[in-house]
Symmetry: C2
Subunit: 399 residues, 2 copies
């Protein structure tokens, strides 16, 4: 039998830039980034803004237009700036994807033009999806405006929208042209969104970097009090660890292993069970707490270490427990039992179940099954710890 | 300013297999291919069939089901085999993509399951697009059933559908899991589709492989008479040259150069101007004829060589001319002038115009502009050659 063995590698390269005041007249970060793409004429840029961002930054659209005018010899800003709903609604309405595609078509955005997406992780995911299917991919510059999107989701290679009521059912792996993190946007986040993103930093510190975990401990009180400098440091380091992981691993996730999804099997399920009342990061914080307790009960992680994790999560102001955790806990075959999350996680990976647990702070280990009885015990422990917290707030003091 | 430099390469590997009688009980090509994917349990396969293929192969669905039953311990065939319209209608109706997605959802096709697409280039493009956006990409096995899809479109990394009336407006770069070329399907092609695909072989021979061009000349009469053996050889060599080109070049087309699109600037425009009455390959044959004449008139290609190309195209039975070529020929700003095709080609590349021309048989050269007056002369020459053919058929005899 004749055959052709085809094999090749596709190189990807992009920068994650950190700046403040992206559209200030003396900030050349954006214009330098897009003109580095060697377009034959001043390239077009179509801008899409998260409505939540726009409402908190009433001068933003005017600033963008002024910036466009200032640099009109170097790029061509499309007049019509699109404003789309923020948060999960951005990913639940496929018509928004069509809106972006229509603008791409109407304004002649081609593979050497840019879509600039400014917003939280949800808007970036949705706009990124539209950009990646239009003309088989137009250039996307992401400007993440939340902690979570600056330290995790916005710097990676995935995009997507929800479909058939399923999270990220549609999407693509498609690296951005560039990412620009502007710290200025973080000032207007509400406390929950400010905090939520830190869960991803705890996650990646626990599986990869003990020194970073210690930094998170040292700076927890300051960050909980909305101190900007340690937050920026943490975002940078977290983004760096995520970026390292992507380039060192399996960027397009062809295998069944997803080490960065530590704490996420329960988190995904809790987001769904709470109808996304729980923010992704809040759910991840609970998922981490659950999986460190489990790691301890299974004899992998010592008591002192798991308690340090719990303390950090509490100091940052996260809840450790939601009632959904106990729903049908002993009927794991029920769709609204958190334990169903394991099977859904396996389906999501599309192969063998692979779960990350913790052996010591800074070192994760992959396992292929979890013991239902131990999960139940872990959840009970979590409830107990959470009650203890409520009754004796002094326990929270960071030591 | 802090920044993270992200760079990595994503490796892709797949085989293009050549077989006959894919679903015969002693043919293990398919079952071997999909079980090489190391799924933890017998993987699921969702089959989608081109209606044109199904109509010409009335036993096909039954054969597939029998094959599924025979190998049920090694893979799980989804009972519901989807049959979708063939040809360009497959790409013009986005609802068909939804149909595939619904089946993916309903049958729990995950990233370690397979979609098996059997059909012409249009069906493969549409099904491939659905497969690449579902769960950010489920595994696609392509079974191309036309000459064009077996020697060119089906073995590459692109998929797509038409949207906003624009060819391939939506799509992705996404290599298949495997491609299986079954020669048996070619028996039922009508003469136009049989012939059309050979245009891609002429194209790639002209820019890359003089010896292959000579083979095409030697075998032209036999192939025009539907001889299977030389056709299989030509498909193999053409596929090999395309595969080589993809791995040696810029698989995801990040630059502005598309060497394999020799002859295609006019072809794309003619397809559109004839409302796809002209098959892609038929349009490519005309586009090649036009661009070799142009190469000659510009002084790049000697007369004997360009006449050999014209003779080959005629011997195979292609038309050299369609009236649309002269439509608004002297008003190239008009939307229905073939010369507009140049500007549309540039837009499609999304950057600088890059056109492949021929310096000698087997060697292409890229240029960045074409002279309108010379294009007009080339078209007039084409009309003249085509009339000469009609009046003196003896000129057609292959020498
Ligand atoms: N692509 C990935 O790899 C990946 C990874 C993790 C999470 N995600 C996705 O990210 C999404 C969550 O993103 P998120 O946590 O950034 O929140 P979000 O995008 O859901 O935004 C939360 C809210 O904050 C508002 N907002 C955004 N920026 C603001 C600002 N600077 N000031 C005030 N309000 C602002 C938004 O309008 C929204 O109402 C989820 O959909 C999740 O699936 C994607
Ligand atoms: N993805 C790529 O890289 C790429 C490259 C070139 C062309 N294409 C696309 O390929 C499409 C053209 O594909 P094509 O030339 O294979 O034709 P096609 O898919 O348009 O099919 C032509 C007709 O033949 C029928 N048919 C298919 N197989 C048959 C068989 N074995 N017996 C009888 N009838 C059969 C179909 O039902 C259809 O009616 C275009 O949409 C073009 O855009 C894609
Ligand atoms: Zn996360
Ligand atoms: Zn072609």
């Amino acid at each position: 039998m004749r055959k052709i063995d085809q094999s090749f590698s596709v190189p990807f390269r992009y920068q994650v830039l950190f700046t403040e005041g992206l559209f200030k007249s003396d900030n050349t970060c954006l214009v330098d980034t897009i003109t580095a793409g060697h377009s034959p004429r001043p390239p077009k840029i179509l801008v899409v803004v998260d409505q939540g961002v726009q409402e908190h930054h009433p001068l933003l659209l005017a600033d963008i237009k002024r910036y466009g005018k200032q640099h009109q010899d170097r790029f061509q800003l499309i007049d019509e700036i699109l404003v789309v709903p923020g948060g999960e609604p951005a990913k639940n309405d496929p018509k928004l994807v069509d809106t972006i595609l229509e603008a791409v078509e109407a304004h002649g955005i081609d593979r050497h033009s840019y879509v600039l997406a400014i917003g939280g992780g949800a808007v970036l995911d949705m706009v990124g999806y539209a950009a990646s299917i239009a003309h088989r991919g137009v250039r996307l510059v992401r400007v993440p405006t939340t902690v979570l999107s600056q330290n995790d989701s916005g710097i990676g290679v995935k995009n997507g929208i929800n479909f058939f009521g399923k999270k990220n059912f549609l999407g693509a792996f498609d690296p951005p042209f560039a990412v620009i993190n502007d710290a200025h946007f973080l000032l207007t986040l509400d406390d929950r969104d400010w905090r939520a993103g830190i869960a991803e930093a705890i996650k990646v510190a626990l599986i990869k970097d003990a020194a970073f975990f210690e930094q998170l401990e040292r700076e927890a009180v300051a960050v909980a009090g909305r101190s900007m400098e340690p937050m920026q440091d943490q975002i940078f380091r977290c983004a760096e660890l995520h970026a390292e992981h992507i380039r060192g691993g399996d960027p397009f996730e062809k295998g069944s292993s997803r080490p960065l999804d530590f704490g996420h099997w329960a988190a995904h399920k809790l987001e769904q069970m709470t109808n996304f009342e729980l923010r992704h990061g809040e759910a991840v914080a609970i998922g981490i707490a659950l999986d460190v307790i489990y790691s301890h009960l299974e004899g992998r992680l010592d008591e002192a270490s798991y308690l340090r994790v719990i303390r950090l999560i509490e100091t940052l102001g996260f809840s450790l427990f939601v009632p959904e955790l106990k729903q049908n806990l002993r009927n794991p075959e029920k769709l609204d039992s958190v334990i169903r999350g394991l099977e859904e996680f396996r389906e999501h990976l599309g192969g063998e179940l692979t779960i990350m647990l913790i052996e010591e702070i800074g070192r994760g280990v992959e396992v292929h099954e979890m013991d239902t009885e131990l999960i139940i015990q872990s959840i009970e422990k979590l409830e107990e710890l959470s009650k203890a917290r409520k009754t004796s707030p002094e326990k929270l003091i960071h030591t």
